[in-house]
Every structure is written in structure tokens, then in C-alpha cells.
Symmetry: D5
Subunit: 162 residues, 10 copies
């Protein structure tokens, strides 16, 4: 397909998200931009850009400036993006969306395995979900099969001894 596939916003989700989400998605669709393209323009990771659109990540003044530029929407419309996000309300948990459920299922099935392996490698602590970044890549194997590779990278935080 010559033209890019674009994520858009289901109208029934709008109420759960900050007021700037819908106009951002509308502008993105109008300009025909992927999150990857926007990320390259503003110098942030693709997942982080999507997270800003869903109200899950804070935008800096520069982000807003550049988003305004690339989306051709006055930056005044997106100033609330520089506020402190109220995270965690984009969708229900457990997820009902099949794609998101699969990620939830990985936590359900492998959660204790991840814990055991991290404990052995790092000691008693957690992988931070705050001091954290993530990317999604596509790999195509020799048989032409497409694979999704998600990388979750978080700082190791040992439990304080007190």
C-alpha cells in the first residue's frame, strides 16, 4: 500500500482521554503522518509520541512547538499537553482489545518467571516503569514471516534496606 496506515481514535474512546487527544489524531490523519514520522520530526521515540497523543506522557514546550509545526495546528490548541498527565485511564483493565490483551496475558503467564529471572540477575528490586523507555520493531525472517519485537528497558531499582 503506497499511503501509510494510520492509527486513528475510536470515537467512543474520546471521553476517557484529555481534550487535546481527538484534535491531535484528526490533524495527524489529515496530514497523513505516522507516529514514526512525527517522532523523527520532533526527536522522540515512536511509542512516546503515541503516549503523548493518548495523554500518557508529558510534552515539553519544544514538543508542542514541533507538533504544532508538523501538524499545522496552532500550538495554543495543545498547551494542555505540557501539564502533568493523569495516566492509566486510556482503556479498561483487564484489556478487552485483543492486541492489548496479549500483552496483559504475557504478564499473567510469565510474570513470576520475569520476577525470578530478574531476582537472580539483579537481586531484590523492580524494573522501573518510570525511568523507562520502549520501542517496537518489525523483523521479517527468512520465510517472510513478520515478527513484532517489543523492547522494554527500565532502570533497576533495588529495595532500600531500612
Amino acid at each position: 500500500m503506497a499511503q501509510p496506515r494510520l492509527a486513528s481514535l475510536d470515537s467512543s474512546m474520546v471521553d476517557r482521554l484529555p481534550a487535546y487527544s481527538q484534535p491531535l489524531f484528526v490533524a495527524k490523519s489529515k496530514k497523513g503522518l505516522t507516529f514514526e514520522a512525527i517522532g523523527q520530526h520532533i526527536g522522540r521515540a515512536e511509542v512516546a509520541v503515541a503516549a503523548m497523543f493518548y495523554g500518557q506522557a508529558q510534552a515539553s514546550p519544544e514538543d508542542v512547538e514541533k507538533l504544532s509545526e508538523i501538524l499545522e495546528v496552532p500550538k495554543e490548541n495543545f498547551e494542555a499537553m505540557m501539564g502533568f498527565p493523569d495516566r492509566g485511564r486510556a482503556g479498561p483493565m483487564p484489556p478487552v482489545e485483543p492486541l492489548i490483551y496479549r500483552l496483559y496475558e504475557i504478564v499473567q503467564n510469565y510474570g513470576y518467571s520475569f520476577k525470578a529471572v530478574m531476582n537472580e540477575k539483579f537481586g531484590d528490586g523492580i524494573m522501573s516503569a518510570i525511568c523507562f523507555n520502549s520501542k517496537v520493531e518489525k523483523e521479517v525472517d527468512q520465510a517472510g514471516t513478520e515478527w513484532v519485537v517489543i523492547t522494554l528497558k527500565g532502570k533497576w531499582l533495588p529495595f532500600s534496606r531500612f
Copy 2:
């Protein structure tokens, strides 16, 4: 620390797991083996080995043979590991364990972002949690800070058109 840190099994979890889990963990502790060491011996990934111990992954006859060898426990004790696992019951959801909750929180906060990015990169579908593998690595940056890097790799499954 000279001796390896070893994951063990909290006694209050035993009832939720298959009968072979506890003796496996006991034998592992007795032999002082990490999941990494066991994985190298039996030729499987560290996360997969942990998953077998928690009853979340099937063992092949060869796995049982080699586990028996390295743990010095007769393989008869672990034959149920070759059965079909009844997955998903290792712990409660939402997770109450802080380490596992952080993974759940990543799904909660970034779930729709992952979906949007995957949809743009792959189309309408999901990342399989079945035709799937995973690894956990440690990275240490220049400042000496430890980072956890989890890789989730799953086959892309497009929704059938029917």
C-alpha cells in the same frame, strides 16, 4: 557476592502451582543453580525454564531428562511436566507483587500506544503471545547504573478477512 542469588518458591504460593513446582525449586536451591545455568544445560531460554518451573510451559521428554540430570532428581518425579500446562494461575491479576505490577502498569499506560504503533507498522492484527519468546538482559551504563532490558518477540498475526 560469590554465590549466586537464587529464586525460590514462597510457601504460600504452592497451592496455586502444579505439584512438581515445589520439589523443582527445592532441588534447584540445593544444587545452587540459577535459571540461566539450568537453561544453558538444557538448551532453553532462561525465561522458558522459569516458566516450566511455575507450570507455565511444557517440558519435552529431553527437558525432563536433562532437568533430572542437572538437578539430580529421578525424572519420574517430573513427568507431569510433559503434560499440557493449565496456564495463567501463578498469581493474581492485577498483580500485587511490585515487580510484576510494574509490567502490568506498562500495559495499562502504554497499551494503546503499542497498539497504535503496531497497527501503523503491521496493519490490523496482534502480536502473538503463543508463537512468542522472551529474554531478560542486564545492561550497565557508563555511570554504572543497571538497566533491565526485556525483549518480547511474537509473530505478527493479521486478522483474517472473512
Copy 3:
């Protein structure tokens, strides 16, 4: 009854569904078309057509073109149907609708039986709900009794060994 029985959209469900659902149902009722008739016109299965109306399946550009044609509604109205569906929110789970509850009850009562039989026939894995299709047929037996026959067909996905 000479004229066809037509599914319509309960007004109190509208908020849970994408914005295009209601006008699609209205147009369908106005034209007096069943999902079967629409499916034949656009070359897709009856269940898949209903799924598109409820925002549970993606429409291709050709689908939108043909829906526009048969429903006599400009295709601009349904362009959001080509977006990536946000599935799983059509109704509550457990279902409160008696017809849908019966399907849920089948999963509740026979779930482990299906698992056991599939494990014996295929090994350790799942039936995909993504690489999947379904149909609903009517059978009338010799006594004149009507039977519903639902066929669920999904690709077998074995758990990866890693």
C-alpha cells in the same frame, strides 16, 4: 413473514460503539437488508459484516465502496470503518443478554473439555481467534425443529519452544 427480520441497534448501546455504527444500522433498516444480503453483495461472510457494523472488524476500501453502494449512503460517512478497530467493547462481560450469555456459558461449562480435546488432537497451543472465521447456519430436522449451528474455525498455533 414476507419481509425480512432485521437486526437494529438499541439506542442505549450507541455510546459504546464507534460513531459510524448507528447510521449504518439506520441505513440497513431503511433499505430492508439483512446481514446475509449485505454479505452477498460485498463478498464477505454474514458474521463479518455484522462485526463491521459493531466496530469489531476492519473494512477494506472496497467494502466501504460496496456498502456505500448497497446502503445508498455516501462512502465518506463510513471512512472511519477502514481504521483499526478498538475491539471488545460492544457489550459487558459476563454478558447480560440471554443469547450472548448462552455462548459464554458454553465456554464456562465446556472450556476445559475443549482444551483437553484440542491438546490431544493438536498438542500444546491454542486455536487462534485472530486468524479465524465463523458462520451461523440454520438446520431444520425432520420434526421441523430449528437448530443453530455455529462454526468457529481458527488456525492452530502451537506454543513456541524457546
Copy 4:
């Protein structure tokens, strides 16, 4: 694999099931019998046999006789199988087992589509989950891909007009 793959009972499930379930599964494993083989011997469908093992279906005196025969266990051990089952408690809902979750997800995603199509084909009513049978078949397509085909067949029950 020359010897048949056999479903067995996870030890942590035993408490949720009737007392006869575990010895039935143990005897089945000892004899190396699939549900299909047992079904052929006793003249019942494979899914129904599994349902009896999980306490989800009633056995007739003849069933118990024949099960006793083929499993080589005195029929006295299984007399409780002729009681009235207390159905629905084999596993948690929503299911946590990935295979069973996929079936649940089909109900979640396609429930209203099934309802709409049945309403158009049959009128106002439900498909019975009581006057009901089911089978699971394997299909292999030309590319050698395995498909699961589940057939759910239930009597149509129109809502009474009163």
C-alpha cells in the same frame, strides 16, 4: 509421535472438581487412552466424554459400565458420575488459560454479531446451551496448516409470547 498425546489433570485444579475426576484422569493416563478413543468405546462424543471427566456432564449407568470396562477400574468408583452435575466451576471466568480465553474473546468480540445474525435468521430467541452438542475437528489445508473447527449446535428457542 507414536504414542498418543494425553490430557491430564493439573494437580492444583483438583479441589474445584468432583472427587471422581482425578482417579478418572489417572486411569486414562495409565491406559494411554485419548478422549476420542474412550468416546468411540462408549458411544459418546469426544467433547461429552471430556465434560464427564470434568464433572460437567452426567453419565448414564451404561456410560459408567463402559468406562469401568475400558479404564479397568471398578464401576463403584465412579457412581457419583450418575448424579446431577454441579456445572460451571471447572475454571475461573474470565478464563486465565490462553486456550480457553480465546473462546471467551470470540464471545466478547463477536457476541453481538452472532446475536444479530441469529435474530435475522430465526427471530427473537436464543440458541440453547442445554439442548446442545459440540465437536472439535482438525482440518489441514493444502499448505499443511492445521485448523481447529469447533461446531456448536443448539436448538433454537424462541422467546415465549405471554
Copy 5:
């Protein structure tokens, strides 16, 4: 009391019900009609008439005609009543309304007793809630005490043997 007591619709319930519910209740109040009176006019049971008002039962074309007549509202307003009801959403479960909670409590306390008695009288099966009717009667005993008598009558459906 000379004038009849009339059930009306709490304004905060309107959103959960189909769009025709509120105007039906308004018209009923305006005409001063009980469900019993309406039932007598249209030839249906009182409980069934109430169920139609709450969107829990389908109306036939004749029902709509007669409702239109007795309520003096053009039948065009109630055509959606002939659609297929999306049942089960009139109120929360467990019920918070004391009157409805008492019925729920009867199921909670006596559910297994009803099951045991029906199993002994009929075998393995269920009482249909679809092929079903119900009535509510008032009895006054010699002491002048009023009693409610609810009759639930449903077809017995034996579990299929398959």
C-alpha cells in the same frame, strides 16, 4: 385510593433503556393506565407488558397498534419496539433496589434447593427462562394480610446426551 397507583420511570434510569421507554411511561401516566389495564387491552400478560416498556420483551405489530390506540400516541413512535430486544441491562446486578434484591436473595438462598428438587422431579436439565411466562397475583388471607404470589413457569429442558 380511587385512582390507580401507577409505576413510572425514574429519570436517572432513562439512559440504560431504549429510547421508546420514557415516552411509553409518560403516555401511560397521562392516560392513567396500569400495566394490568394495558395488558387486558392488548391481550398480553401484565408482566410481559411491563417487560416491553423496559425493553425486555419484543412487541408484535399488533401490540404496537394496540398500544398506540390505548395510549393515544402514533405508532410510529414505538416501531423500535418490534426490533430484537437487547435484554438484561435494565438495572445493576446484584440489584440495589430492595424489592428486586429480595428476588435475588431467593435465588441466592434457595438456588441449590430449587436445583435439587427439579433434578429429582425432572432429571438433569434446566427450567427455561426463554420458553417462559410469569404472573404476579395478590392474595389476602383471613387476617387481612396481603401476600404476593409470583408464578414462574418455564419449559423443562433436559441436557442433551451427545
Copy 6:
């Protein structure tokens, strides 16, 4: 079938019920008695007898005497039946047993209809579930179809005006 069909107690239910439940059911099975037969012997309704067995109704000293007589078990074994029942814990709510779920579904679908009809017939109040009795009858229509008729009879309690 010449010998009566008898309700028995699923072994996995035992923990939820008082200690006397299981021996009562065992004795009942041994004597081949239905709840109807026991009720006739002790002069109580069939549903009430079942309720006593499930720990949902109190037994009088005479009941215990007569139960001891007919079941041929020393009455000392059942003295706890004269205690004050701790009702409501026989099974989960929402019910997972199909027979009991159907009763729950009737409350879900017709709850507001019952309320409306009772309000019109009796005023503002409830039907008591305490000053209450119930019976289950079988009716066979001309076509030979079996119907279950459940009668719920409770005292009308008007809300106090204060």
C-alpha cells in the same frame, strides 16, 4: 425409571456448607429417599427440606427427630441443624450452575417488571423473602411437554412512613 432420581452433594461443595450437610445427603442416598418423600414424612415442604440439607433453613427439634427416624441416623448427628443458619453461602453469585443461572436471569431481565407490577398492585414496598414459602411443581401439557412451575409466595411489606 423405577427407582427415584436422587439429588446428591458434589464433593467440591462440601467446604461451603455446614458439617451436617454431607452426612445428611449420604444417608438420604442410602435410603433412596427424595426430598418429596422426606417432606411428606416430616410434614414440611419439599423446597424447605432441601433448604435444611443445604444449611439454608432451621430445623425444629421435631424435624430433627423425624429426619433421624426416616434416615436412620442418630439425631445427635444433626443437632447443629437446630442452630441459626448462616444463609447465603451455598453457591457463588452470579450463579455458574446453568439451572440456577436461569433463575438469576429471570431476576435480571424481569426484575423491574416485577417491581412495576407489584407497585401498581400493592403500593410502595417489597415482597418478603423471609415470611415466604415456595414450591416447585411439574405440569405436563397436552403435547406431553413438561413444564416447571415455581411458586414464590411472600408477605407484602409496605415501606413504613416515618
Copy 7:
């Protein structure tokens, strides 16, 4: 404080309550009336008056007349108050409001104690919450400490023997 403290209606609660609640509270505030004052005027208990304002108790025609009088609002505005209340939806359960939670906690902590004491004093039955009244009083002890005294008075209903 010379002027009375007045309960008002949080704007975010309005949707859960009947349409007449908000104008009642507004009129009450405008007139500077407490529930006690209104209760004295109309001859009903303070708690009952508050319950009418929250849609939890039915008003008689005289109540509406007198409320109209004291609040100086035409009685037409409050006619829906004479309808049959749809109780139980004023707030979430478990309560999140600290004052209401404390009452819930009393039930949680002392529920079985109340049951035991009532059973010993009255036998097997319940305290009616329907044939019921309640009052809230202030007591000030010698140290000047204020105490709340809530009286719950309900008719004793013995379980019917049937």
C-alpha cells in the same frame, strides 16, 4: 454560627438521582432550611425527609403539598416524588464517603455480632429494613464531647416455617 448549617447536593451526584432532587436542594438552600425544620413542618422524621430528597422514600400528596408550601416552589415540580422510588443508587457500595464508610464498617465488623444477639433475643429471622424507621440524635457528655446516636428500629420478621 447563627445561621444553620445546610446540606446541599454535590453537582457530580446529580446524574445518579431523580430529576427532582437538585431543585429540591436548591430551594432548601435558598430558604435556609434544615431537614429538621422541614421535617417539623411536614410532620415527618428528619431522616425520612432527607431520604425523600435523595429519592429513597416516597412522598405522599400531603408531603408534596407541604414541601411546596415551605420551599415556595409550585408542587407540580415535585409530583414525581409521589412515584415509586427506585432505591439504592444514591452512592457507590462499598461507600467511598468517609462518613458513610464508617456505617458500612460497623456492618462489616459487627454484622455477625448483631446476628448472634438478635438470634438469641428473637429467634431465626431478620430485622426489617422496610417496616423500619430511624433517627439521628446529638448527645453532649459532661466533658462537652459530642456523640452521634443513631437509632435503627425495624420490625422483627421470623423466617416462615414451610
Copy 8:
């Protein structure tokens, strides 16, 4: 009935309660004592005594001494009663026991009314459930009807201004 009615402990509740509960109830039954009688002996309120039996209230050394005396059980058996209770786990919430549910329903229906009345009488605060006492009394009116009168008395705690 000449001999007193005595509350006892349902055997299926034992696991939720502290280890001393069951022997306390057994001794109480053996001695034929009501909570009222025990309360009079040890100088505490009847509800408080029951609360101690259910592990919801702390016993002083004197209480244990006197309980030991009146129940004729060595006080060593009840020393754990002087520990700090782990309150709130005697039964499920929402309550399934009808008697306890009625109290819960009073909170559900009248919670906001109690709040409004207390706010008007006392200001912004709560009634303490800690600095609290309660009693249950029986009143018999002229018609011979029995009424339960529960008194809840708690210290008023105003919200701190900070």
C-alpha cells in the same frame, strides 16, 4: 421455649476466624449461656461480647479471667483474645446473610440521608466507628409485634482544618 436460644458457630465459618472462636462457642453452648448472660457476668455489653467471640474486639486480662470462670475453660485457651484483633474478616461484603444484608441495605439506602442530617447537626466530620458502642434491644408494641432497636453511638469527629 424454656431453655435459651443460643447462637452457635457455623462450621464452614471457622477458617475465617481466630483459632479461639470455635472453642469459645462450643463452651458457651455446653454451658447454655447467652451473650447477654455472659455480658452480665463479665460486665461488658452483649454486642461487645459477641464481637470478642468473633475476633472483632479485644479482651482484657479480666475479661479472659471471667470468661474462663463462667465457661469453665482454662484461661490459657483464650490468651490470644488479648492480642490485637485483625478485624473485618468475619464475613463477606456485600453480606450474603439476610439478617446482615438488611443492615447493609440500610447503609445503601439511607447513607446519604444520615450524612446530610449529621452534617446539619454537627458540621463536617464523621461518627466514629472506633470510639463507639452499640446495643440491641427488643420492644414489643401494644399489638404484640416485636421490634428490634439497634443503637449505634459514636463520638463525633470533625475534620481537622489544616
Copy 9:
């Protein structure tokens, strides 16, 4: 950053909060004031001021006067702030916001430890959340690391002996 960081109100939260919340936040942002600055102006703690903005704490007439002054909004707009707050509905529990979840997790992990330590230090009782105040401070250690120090101070309330 020269200009202060300001908390604002996510538009999707507005419906859960009292009507005055949004205009308060808007005025605060327009004036560029932190909660600390407002607190200093009106003589209340920073956390208490934020609580008033979220409808979780009552304002005195003086508070409203001073808020009106510093925010330059007529005090009429905020008179509802002097009403009795309907607390507890600002966000879902368990919290989905990561910052708030961490506080919840502290209660989950250390709740029983806090209880044990308080019981040993104070006896049988609770720390009041009503007669309570709190502050949040920043500490920077020698390494320049920032630490949050939350102080929760509540009156100790011993359980009444009754």
C-alpha cells in the same frame, strides 16, 4: 525553570468533581500560582488547598474570601466550596495513576507492618484519617538526589471498651 510548574485539571476528570473544581484550576493557572503560594496566602497547608480544589476538603468563608482575592474570581463562584464535601470520588481505586498507585502499594505492602507497630506503640485502635493533617516536603541529599517526604499525622483513637 523560572516560571512555576503548575498542576492543572485533566479534562476527562471534570465529571467526577464538583462544579467549582474546573474554574478554580483555570483561575490558578491563569494567575500562575502553585498550591504552596495559595496556601501561604490563605493560611492553610498546601495539601489542604489542593484537597479543596478537588472537592475533598471544606472551605471556610474566610478561605473563599481569600481564594477569591488571590485568584481574582468573584467569591460567588465558589460558594459551594463551603458545603459539606462528598469525599472519595476524585479517582478510581485501586488507583491507575502511577504516582497515586505507589501510595496504594505502600498500604498494600506495609499495611500490616504499620498496624503491628502502632498496636505496640499505642494499643488497640486506629490513626484517625479525619482528625488528621499531612504535608509533602522535598529533601535533597548530598548526592543531589531528590526525596519526597510525606508526613501523615493523625490522632490516635483507641477502640472503646463497651
Copy 10:
């Protein structure tokens, strides 16, 4: 009171905790030691010691040595304390214990206030519950009133920009 008040372990909690919890509490009671005294001996904070007893914090080899010493129990009994804790399962959430509920209520009522204040003081991030410590102190004011002062101190973690 001359002898110290000691926290002990409710017998009904034992199953939720690691196997070492109960013997630790028993030994502590036998030796008459508070958590404060143990903390002083082993050089850890009182809350941390309690957390180790409840299986919520890891013990170092030195901790086990010193615990063994002060409790006079061979250290072999407590070696599992050096394992990686499986946190979060000590009690239900929402808490039913009144003391712990008050802490939960503080999060419920003040959660967004804490977030707003922290965001203004620190930016976009969270207070760590891992790199964290806590203490409980008693303050007695001039009137002799006892106050609990809980200090929660956690490292500030800003959200990564990626």
C-alpha cells in the same frame, strides 16, 4: 502497663504468609520483644522488621543471624527469609482492617492532592515505593492527646523522556 504490648499473628492469616512468619511471631511473643526492641538489636527500622515478619521485606544473612540470636531460635528456621519476597499478599485490598483502611482512605481522599503537590514541587514523576523507607512515631501534645506520625520517604523518580 509494665509489660510491653506485643503484636501477634492472627491464626486465620497464617495461610497467606510465608511459612516462617508464624514461628517468628511465636518466638517474639515468647521473648516478650517489641518490633522496636528487635529493630534496635539488629540495626533496622521498626517498620522494616515488621515487614520482614510479614514476608514483605528481605532479610540479609546478618539479619537472620541477629534475629536468631535475639529470638533464641536456630537460624536454619529462618533461612527462607533471605529469599526474594513475594510481596503484596499480606491482606485484602481494599483493606477490611479498620487501622489499615484509614491509610487506604487517605490515599483515596488525598491521592490527587498529593499528586498535584508533588508535580508542582518535583515535576512529572513519582515517589518511589521501592527506594523508600518509613517510620511511625508517637507525639503527645500539651493536652495529653496522642498522635501518630507516619513518615513516608521515597526517592523522586522523574518520568524518562524518550
